[in-house]
Each structure stands twice: as structure tokens, then as C-alpha cells.
């Protein structure tokens, strides 16, 4: 499968432990997500879900194994090159939205495309189209503080998808929402991703979400390793 949006092999990430040992937070032998496909990764709290997404996005460097985004290796790149690859190909939806409070909705969405090395469409037009798509056409000039939590979530979705990334990463996208809104949010996310033929990778511990996806992977429990003196 040459056109996999995401391909992971033998990915490992350790964190140092206070006692001098180390902690294997992510240990993922293989994972592939094709363009247009949605996959959910399930794991308990502390099982390394956020760490995994940060590895895929190139925010954290991997210790072992490889991550490929749209055929390009993320692992092994310098920090700056990882930033560029992320800017070009990845949309990231955070558990806590992470909108910038000083920017309006449309500016926050534009921000998602601001650092792309290559641009084929005006970020402003794309941002407005994306906000329209998530039903916030009348909230473009509002700041995050002037939006409801559900609306903030939709701005975050618009930001992750406006630039038509190859891969969308979503970290517990529903943990701040009640079940009705969680349903709406997931529907919007999966539909929007499918429309732009993006691969969607959602990590969660929420069992309710899992039914929505054809594919579900489960993370291994992290392992503590003694200090080897």
C-alpha cells in the first residue's frame, strides 16, 4: 500500500522515570491508515495515546521505529523539517481545543495553514469555507471566549481540516462534551475528513466512540523498565 497516509513500524518512545529507570510509554509494532479511512485507537488513561499522536505529528522525536506521513519519513528528520512536514500534511485536533484566545474564529482557522511551506489556496478563503462547513458562518469574527464549548470544538475541527491535510489526528475529541454533542462532533469530524479524503486517526478511552469506526486498534499497557546499572 504505497498511498498510505500514515504508516508506523516498531514505534517506541521511552520517558525517563524519577527513580532513574525508564518508562516505555509507546510501543506500537505496526499501524497503517489509508487516505479516506478512519481508525480509532483505544487505550486507558496513561496508556500513551497523546504521546503516540505527538510522535506521529513529529512534535516529539521517536526513540525507535519509523513513522511515514503520505510516504515521507517523519522519524529521523530534524526538528525544523518535522515542523514543515506537520504544517503541510497534518491536522491536529486537541482534547483541549487549543484555540488562541487573541484571535477570532476565522483567524484561528487560518493559523492552521499559516506555516505551510506550500499553499495552493488562500488561507482566508479556505478558513471561511471550513467554518461554513462546520456551521459557524455567523461566528467567524468571534473570539474563542465568545463561543460556546461546542462551537469552540467546531472551530478546532475546522482548523484541523481547512487545509485539506493528508492525515487528521484527534486526541479525545469528545471528552469535553456530553453524549449528544459528542455524537454530533464525531459525525462532523468523520464526514468532513471523508469529504476531503483525509485519513482520520482518533485516540480515546471512550467506549461509546468506538462503535462509530470500522477499525479499532488497542494500545499495549506501558511498561516500567528498571534502571540498568
Amino acid at each position: 500500500m504505497a498511498d498510505a497516509a500514515l504508516r508506523i513500524q516498531n514505534l517506541k518512545k521511552w520517558y525517563p522515570d524519577p527513580d532513574g529507570g525508564r518508562f516505555l510509554a509507546v510501543d506500537l509494532p505496526a499501524l497503517e491508515v489509508a487516505s479516506g479511512e478512519s481508525v480509532v485507537v483505544r487505550g486507558e488513561s496513561g496508556s500513551g495515546k497523546t504521546t503516540l499522536l505527538n510522535l506521529i505529528a513529529g512534535i516529539l522525536p521517536a526513540d525507535e521505529g519509523t513513522v511515514e506521513i503520505a510516504g515521507m519519513a517523519m522519524t529521523g528528520l530534524s526538528e525544523v523539517k518535522r515542523d514543515r512536514l506537520r504544517a503541510q500534511h497534518i491536522g491536529y485536533l486537541f482534547q483541549t481545543f487549543n484555540l488562541l484566545p487573541g484571535l477570532t474564529a476565522v483567524e484561528n482557522v487560518q493559523l492552521g495553514m499559516a506555516f505551510r511551506p506550500r499553499r495552493d489556496e488562500s488561507p482566508k478563503t479556505a478558513a471561511e469555507a471550513a467554518l461554513q462547513r462546520v456551521g459557524l458562518a455567523d461566528r467567524m469574527r468571534h473570539r474563542p471566549a465568545q463561543l460556546s464549548v461546542g462551537q469552540q470544538q467546531r472551530v478546532a475541527i475546522a482548523r484541523a481540516l481547512a487545509g485539506h491535510p493528508s492525515l487528521v489526528l484527534a486526541d479525545e475529541p469528545t471528552s469535553n462534551l456530553d453524549s449528544k454533542r459528542a455524537d454530533q462532533c464525531m459525525a462532523l469530524l468523520t464526514e468532513f475528513a471523508a469529504e476531503s479524503n483525509a485519513a482520520l486517526l482518533v485516540v480515546t478511552h471512550d467506549e461509546r466512540l468506538i462503535e462509530r469506526f470500522e477499525r479499532c486498534e488497542t494500545l499495549r499497557a506501558p511498561k516500567h523498565e528498571e534502571a540498568t546499572a
Binding site: 504521546t51 512534535i59 526538528e79 486537541f94 488562541l100 493559523l111 492552521g112
Partner: protein, 442 residues
Amino acid sequence: MSIFKLAWRSVKQRPLASILTMISVALGVALTIAIVSLRDSAHRSYHETSRGYDAILGPTHGSPLQIVLNTMFHVGDAGGTLPWATYERAKNDKRVKYAVPYAVGDYFRGKPVVGTSTAMFEALMDPENVPLGKNINGVVFRDGVHFEAVAGSIAAAETGLRRGVKFKVTHGPEGGWEHGEEWTVVGILRPTGTPADRAIFIPIETFYEVGDHKTAGDQRKKRREEREAEEEREREHGHEHGADTHTHEDDHGHEHGTKEELGLSAVGIRLKSPILRLAYVAEFKSDRATVQAVMPADQVRQLFEVVGSVDRFFELTAWLIVLVAGIGILVSLYNTIQGRRREIAILRAMGATPRHVFAVIVLESVILVVLGGLFGLVLGHAGLAMSAPYLVERFGVLVRSGFGTLDLQVMGALAVFGLVVGLLPAWRGLRTPVAENLHPTE
């Protein structure tokens, strides 16, 4: 969302801190602009004016600088008198193109009233080298006993003199008694940017016609006659008289009218060629002379050698204020970075490279310094414009406070300075770890 827009939003996010730091830069820049403009204006004004005469003949009592300031800038007092014959002699000297007599001491509403001759209006020029007499609404007064006057532009505006208006003068700048005679304004000089703007000119002959001056002359004559009688007696007793008695030797062979008794304050000399200057001045260098010849250009240059170190000190102080303001921005910006870790992490998660983050923060610093600087320029020029009348009045210095290359240079320097100031906060910002700051912590 450009880098610039991000930086600008960030500046707007902290309005109080931003405004305070900008004000501190503005004050420093305003001071710098004011000091530098003042200094340059003073230099230019004094140097330009000093070119009007090749030499000034003044009393040996006065200091050379005092003579120049009083004659050319209408500041201070004359410091003594010269025999009238000095003027007659200078006027008849073949090397002299213009000999301009000056008699001072009277004022109209605080503006100096200067007794002189029409030669002054030919000898002195404005910065564009147009003689003052060609730059007049109306006419120049006539030489001789005609109670006519020409007013400088500022003097006219501030005293309310217009053509055809009659006025009396007072003795001394403030609180002096009023003389009985009345002059009529026949001409108003157009603004020239020279000290002539601040003065009122009358024919020197009318100065001597003033009743009180005549009385003073008579008294002086009487005193001198008494002193001469005294000295006569001393000589008879074999006493040597001191080197500083000097009033009587030039007057012989003239009729003893008022102008001979009162003498004059100074004579401005313009030679037919500046080459003659040194030789001409040297002739007055005898230690028993009543008269000294002073080169205005020399005096002004010496003045600025002294004043120069002082105003360099002021300029340095002003730049120090800018420097301190810059350090203020540095500290303030540096401290915000701690609170902006999440914001920075979000930018990075959106694909911003460390260089982008660095650029945003440096740009914030540049925006603060440059905006503060612009504000300072406006403040500085406004301050200069507002104090200009006072400065002209008090120091005879016409401040040219228009925006110019100095401002461009200052802004250029400030942009670089802002960049330097932003380096340390930006360096701290670019080292912000991303993953651990992507969620709300404290």
C-alpha cells in the same frame, strides 16, 4: 495569519504593558530628537548669522563673545561703548564694503530696539542670501534724523506693530521709563530665520535725538570733563594712570555732539574681500586700544567648542533613556514568555518552526520600539514647535523642527535596536518545549 499579524495581536493582547513600554521609548526618543534638533538648529543659526560680518568692532570692556552676541543676535547687553570716530574711520576705510553702526539699550514691549543704518539691510542676508532690505513689506527707514522704524517679523507679530503704527520705546528691557519720542513703522521684514526677526530697527541718528540719551550724554560729558581735570591734577603730581583709562583719545577734532558723547555699541564690518580679514583685525590688536575687532565666525566656533561637550552629554543622556526603555521592553517581553508557553506550543503544533516563533517575538519587540519611537518623534517635534517661539525669543535660535533625515536615521536605529532587544526573549521563546505545553497546566 502572517508573522507580523501574530506579533501585532500579541502586542494588543497586553495593552497596558505595551503602552507603558512604548511611552518609555517615546520619552527617550522625544528627548533625543529635541536635543539633537536644538543643537543642530543652534549650530546652523549661529554659524549662518556669524557669516554676516567679517569683523565686529566693539568696546575693549566687553568680551568678544558678548560683542558678537549683542550685535548679531540681539542678546545680552553691549558691554560698553565705542567712540563715534571709530565708525567714521571704518566707513572711510577703502577695504570696507559695509560699516554698520549699532546703538542699543532701548526696547519696545520687550523687543530690542536697535539704532543702525540702512547699510545693515544690505550687509545682512537671510539663509537664502537675500539681503534683508530686499525682504521687506514696505520700505527701509531713511538714514538721518527720520523717526522711522523697520520691525522684524517676530517682533512685529508679538508687539502688534504694523506699517504706519507709531510707538514709543522704553529704556531697558523691562520696567524701564518710556522715552518721549515717537517712531513710525515704515517696513516689516519678512520672516528670515535670522535674529533680525526679533528686533526693531531705527536710524541711529534718531537714537541720539532721544531726550534722555542727550541728557545722559551731557552728564557723561560733564563727568568726563571732571575726570580729565582730575587726571590733569594727578599728572601734575607725577602719577602714572592705569592702562584701563581709555575714553578720550579718539574724540579730538570732532564737534562734541550727542553721538560723539554717547558713542555706539559696535560697528559691524563687511570687507570687500574676506582675504583682508586677518590683516584688518590685526590692526586693532594694540594693548592700549579703545577698540577691539572680533571675528564672529571665530567666536561662534569657540562657543560651540565649549557648548558642544555639554550638549553631547545631554544627547548621551537622552540615548541612555532610550536604552533603559529598551531594557524595560526586554524584561517585560522576557517575562511574558513564561505565560505564553501554551500559545507558543500551539503555534509550534500548527507547524511553526522555532524560527517562526523567534521571528514573532523579535517582531513584537520591534513593533514596541518602533511605535514608541514614532510616538516619540511626534512628541519631540510637537515639543520643539511649541517651544520654538520661546527659543527664538530667548536665544535667537530659529528651530527648524520639520521631519527629515534625522528622523529616518533615528527610526532605522530604533528598528535595529528593537531587534536586538527582542533577541533574548525570542531565544527563550524558541526553546519552549511543545508537547508538555499543549494542555492547560497551571
